[in-house]
Symmetry: D2
Subunit: 345 residues, 4 copies
């Protein structure tokens, strides 16, 4: 069985997924595309030699019976409407982050999906498919470090676009930690506080950088995340979980070591694209396999999208107030129970 | 375009490739299978739900016009005949090692292929597709360490089957270093000497273990390879290249680090299957992509199979004589020029 | 010239310093000892074969004209009186932490020393003499990482005595970070906040463990210190300084690596005594050398003892209130200017 | 008790030991010096403010009754005569390598010492006091890796003096591995073979560099040592011991790690002086302590000096012949039994 994908949004990330599905993974085929810029849609079809219908908008694309899955890679503010429409049509959805730009929007998707009665939606939080995070989760679930107590994490970029603003440290950067860390420890967030260290001279006037987020979970785990988007030296993702019996830590990406010019070293990535490249492949393959084998996706779901939205709102508020802010989630419906690593990967 | 694969040999490695092509990679489809054990062929078709014809032997399978590629995963002694027949029929071939069990057999394949006039055959030396080796080769070709002078390598298994004999340290184990190291430094082997250290108590009576191979290339590089197949602690592949300006070394496989019970550590693999799992995927995807895009495979070719056979013969002789033995290759035909990493990966 | 040491307090740490001065370092000699337990003093003289007078108390020991240096290794609450008396007698002092048990006590020593007109006192904060911290400070002072912005630190013990209480995480454990970190970045502390993660089941009822201290400096550096005294796996000191241009981090203590039983690892120390053993030697040798060559000790001074006391008070208060507490130091007298690593080591 | 040292030879290494004994260690005092260059002897006394007699030659220095220990740091060819004279006078001797420039010379010292009836002589092979090698030896003796089977070692210098010749790779460089490795595994050498890889362009015309030494012990251990004295990147000492149950390896020297400019690294030393600086201190302190406490030195002895001389001769011969050469030692007298790590350190 080959899954027919209809792609909504043929920008950079859209084309990467199209390439992945077409040329690297098994079981999927792009059968339809659309973009608010129709020229982009056409170019994409040409670029990849697709045998796909070009539609004028998402509505008609969703209605195509050859479309089993709607791949939402449009502009963030457009996600909600497309996802809701697809769900109402009973189509599977792979939606790049954010699921919706507001918690309310996410909740409307949650409600549509529950009304439909089956999970259809997966959100593009790829870190859950990174081998390092998977190993961390397995170690934690096997009790290797006992109960987790503290997480030390860092998300560092060498530099950012001049338009990057202080709140984007939450919605574009921290958002990945927001998703992956609650999954990692199978817990919900309770509060967040932001501390601003001395600002690096390498950040533009309008940007607070670095920032430290101190997040507490309902279970009492304290999570420190350093976000530093002008760290200069590289793209670097760190995550260390301190437990009652020991500590586990993400590996550095595998890279040859060298001895040269009085240095014993390895290269650090500078481009974020390479850090989770394998994870993107695994993510989409798993999404397709789960649909075929289990009838519904097993990855980050609409409720995870809602958690991300609520948590991001609280983090931005905490940036502004300097106070400890509550992260107030509605009660998790039974429909969206937490899955464990063994089911997911 | 989807490549039709005809599989000759449905044992363990055959089924792994079938799974890979069917469920993980893009562009290939199993259209035919055969095995000397017809029951195994049938079980395989069932196991993977293949839409494939079951043939009584390789000859008729090769003749099927839907078969674009013959995947040779039968018993080693059967390889040569299947590969020659496939080449004569103008079919592409992916042949697991060995290409043939003798240098003469390899040479017959070489001649068949040259007669056909186009490269059709790739041998299953997957290490060239391992990210670590690729990084090593890129570093060397970019001149990062200047001219390579020495290679220190090790190939260690935790334990081996009781039937594993001293010469199998060459033909089953060292064979991977034999292939990957000449490719790594783009040089040909000249001599080999074997030194036997004190034998481990963990090896059976009939087996010399560990063994040290000292190989010199025509260019003067000295390669030390430790083969130790009862090392107990894990499956461990080491490769360090010492050059005029510095040293580069394979990374350890990426694995979470831990702090527990007075140890700071990472896990070492114990099962060889996991060490090059990604490399197998990349290998087959590259094989398919190269056929589609370039009209011929770009990986290890028949000449590499011949090099492996000649070198293995000399290594076994050196085990027996204790002397430095010559590795005497025929002149490389222009048809089989060395490819560089940039073309290969 | 040989410095005559009079030792006040012949418990464990006193005897270690006596051994060091007598059997490992150059330039010092134990000439007098005293202890509230006179029997302990006598045993010590016997144990090390000392040619030393046993005095009934610190006052008469200080008065001995052969005593150039008073080594204060008595019970903490006794330190202040001995140090003040020694300073008033114009004797050099090496005082184990704490300099005094209160900020006011430290300030009385500061005033006595300033009145005397020359620096006489060094406090036993040995980490400044650890090779790793010295390398960190040199790197920072050379501008290798630009301006420091954040410090991530951890102080972990495998377990603690049942009498260890929550505030001892400050006065016995964090106290070393308190001293070494302001020295490292040449800055003063401004505020501290304490966050209590979920408590480990391995801590006794009365103890909050682990604890996180978030300290801000006047210059805006944010320091995270995890104190975890029942971490079980080992004695582990971590310190990473994030700067504008890069990061530097303490090395793990040099230890052979091993490959065994599917683990690539190194041992982690479990006994704190071994972690800074070399630093203790360097500390005392430097103290003696500085007196002989420069006329006054160059290590942590009375003002550093005062900083430690004030900071510790604020940290304990922050443990109790859960609020961000001010660390309010009096203005640093010119008499106690910060020294740099180049002068110290 | 303070040991009186008479120093024969006040060049660079002599002055370093004088400084060490005078200013860093406990229990020794320089009471006499001599040098063929009397001016150098006088300058040394002045430089360190020594209270020491300047003698015209080694004979009269040895005769001084205040001289308990003769420290031999003169020119290599002069060592033998001084050591024999000192031994005949019943004085302790610390002699820098070589003990004598020929195996016969070493044997004459051995005989003089046996005639005297007590071990008096220690040879300056400091690596046995390096913390890393001590840990390796402890691990081996505790059976941590089972029986040792193979040693992989490397001795690399960034560059050498233009006068450095091919045989100096043995007598000045490999000599340290020659001493430390037989001690490490408590075994004797049997044969040696030399393989010359392609020469680095960074070596002068007259020098073969790098070189590989393959040494077999009587017990069957195979030792590979790479000597590469123009490796450019740093001074780097590697030693890995492969045993039946696992592997142990020297640690890299402890150095802060950094993340900067896309590199995760640590510094490699470039000056050999810093690599074993601590070992030199431990070596001399242990030498003094052993004399005082045990009546005779416990470090590398005259027999070890003899082993080094015989082995070096065979290695140089193997460089010239390209053949496997025998290392033929006389039978070890009971007087010189091997000591274990527990007795030594
Ligand atoms: Mg994503
Ligand atoms: Mg293969
Ligand atoms: Mg101290
Ligand atoms: Mg020496």
């Amino acid at each position: 069985m080959t899954l027919g994908f209809g792609v909504v949004g043929t920008g950079a990330i859209g084309r990467e997924h199209i390439n992945r599905i077409t040329n690297k993974l098994a079981g999927g085929k792009i059968v339809a595309v659309t973009d608010v810029n129709q020229e982009s849609a056409k170019q994409t079809v040409d670029q990849f030699g697709l045998d796909a219908v070009i539609y004028p908008n998402d509505k008609v694309l969703i209605a195509d019976e050859n479309v089993d899955v709607v791949l939402v890679t449009s502009w963030g503010p457009a996600h909600e409407a497309t996802v809701v429409a697809a769900v109402e049509a009973g189509k599977y959805v792979f939606c790049e982050k954010p699921l919706a730009t507001t918690a309310e929007g996410c909740m409307r998707i949650v409600e549509a999906e529950m009304k439909h009665g089956k999970k259809l939606v997966q959100v593009g939080f790829m870190r859950r498919y990174d081998s390092g995070y998977v190993q961390l989760k397995q170690a934690i679930e096997e009790g290797f470090i006992g109960e987790p107590l503290i997480i030390h994490a860092a998300h560092r970029n060498p530099t950012v676009d001049p338009r990057y603003t202080t709140d984007m440290a939450v919605v574009d950067t921290l958002i990945h930690e927001i998703d992956v860390l609650h999954w990692l420890v199978n817990d919900d967030y309770k509060t967040v506080q932001v501390v601003f260290p001395k600002k690096t001279k390498n950040a533009l006037e309008h940007l607070r950088d670095p920032q430290l987020f101190i997040i507490e979970t309902k279970g009492g785990i304290v999570i420190n995340v350093e976000v530093f988007v002008n760290c200069k030296y590289g793209y670097d993702i760190q995550c260390e979980v301190v437990g009652e019996e020991g500590i586990v830590k993400l590996p550095e990406p595998a890279s040859i070591s060298f001895r040269k010019e009085a240095t014993l070293g390895t290269k650090i990535l500078t481009d974020w694209k390479y850090r989770f490249m394998d994870a993107y492949d695994v993510e989409i393959q798993d999404f397709m396999d789960a649909i075929v084998k289990k009838g519904e996706p097993q990855g980050p779901d609409s409720w995870d999208g809602y958690i991300a939205a609520v948590t991001a709102d609280a983090c931005v508020k905490a940036q502004q107030t300097g106070e400890k802010e509550a992260i107030t989630l509605q009660e998790r419906p039974a429909f969206y129970r937490e899955t464990t690593v063994c089911e997911t990967v």
